[in-house]
Subunit: 155 residues, 2 copies
Amino acid sequence: MTLTYFLLFLAASAAAAATGIIFKPGEWYVGLKKPDFTPPNWVFPVAWTYLYVSVAYAAARIAPEAGSQIALALFAVQIALNTLWTPVFFGAHRLWLGLLVLICLWVAVAAMMLAFLQLDMLAGLLVFPYLVWLTLAGALNFRVWRDNPRAGAQT
Amino acid sequence: MTLTYFLLFLAASAAAAATGIIFKPGEWYVGLKKPDFTPPNWVFPVAWTYLYVSVAYAAARIAPEAGSQIALALFAVQIALNTLWTPVFFGAHRLWLGLLVLICLWVAVAAMMLAFLQLDMLAGLLVFPYLVWLTLAGALNFRVWRDNPRAGAQT
């Protein structure tokens, strides 16, 4: 049964991951002024692949536990927000709105991590790198918004 | 506790709904050849608002039940795919890929309806209009793809 859960959470994550293939950074992103801490481009797909798989595994660990429903509801919230961010930022070039989505996503993932921790220590710990990565992504999104006043759709 | 669930599922649905505000149909959609059964534009936000709220309520009904985890995992899959469709179709103009996303979404929602039905009859029935709407949306997406060979990104 845990394999069924893993495949379902992986399917949800694949929908989120697909946005990164459909809405590529492209010339627009290359031309942006970016902060010193911006990771090289190759880091993004590697980091996201690791995070999607490890969080799907973490969710599959806690899903069969009694009382996992709030944790699973939080998984649904974060995967929908995760799917939303890439089209908003790379598709619509809405830098400020992207930052707002990331802040909501960060809160949802932090709540999910706490819910996972209460059910299974390892599952909760597996979510921690996701939260760290979102913190970096949020800082990057903020600086891109602040430092490129004419690059986005201004909202 | 059911209110907490309802608000969480509504938050996930809000992320999906936001795509409809960010990626509006616009001139491109107006210029497409559309089938006779295309609903007038005002129907779409009304139908989606009803569907998002009623499915969030249905999910909140089944969430506290023992053994609801598979149903909740399926909720996560469908809300991620739902969030993906609008940017693919209205953002990237990928008509065929949009149809593929809709087919996956239809399968996920059908499975979710069956899972809900086993837990709570009313919750399952509340998902049925969503499946009917997706069937219509799939037929519309198919016809737009078939009848507008030069309108999309051709994938």
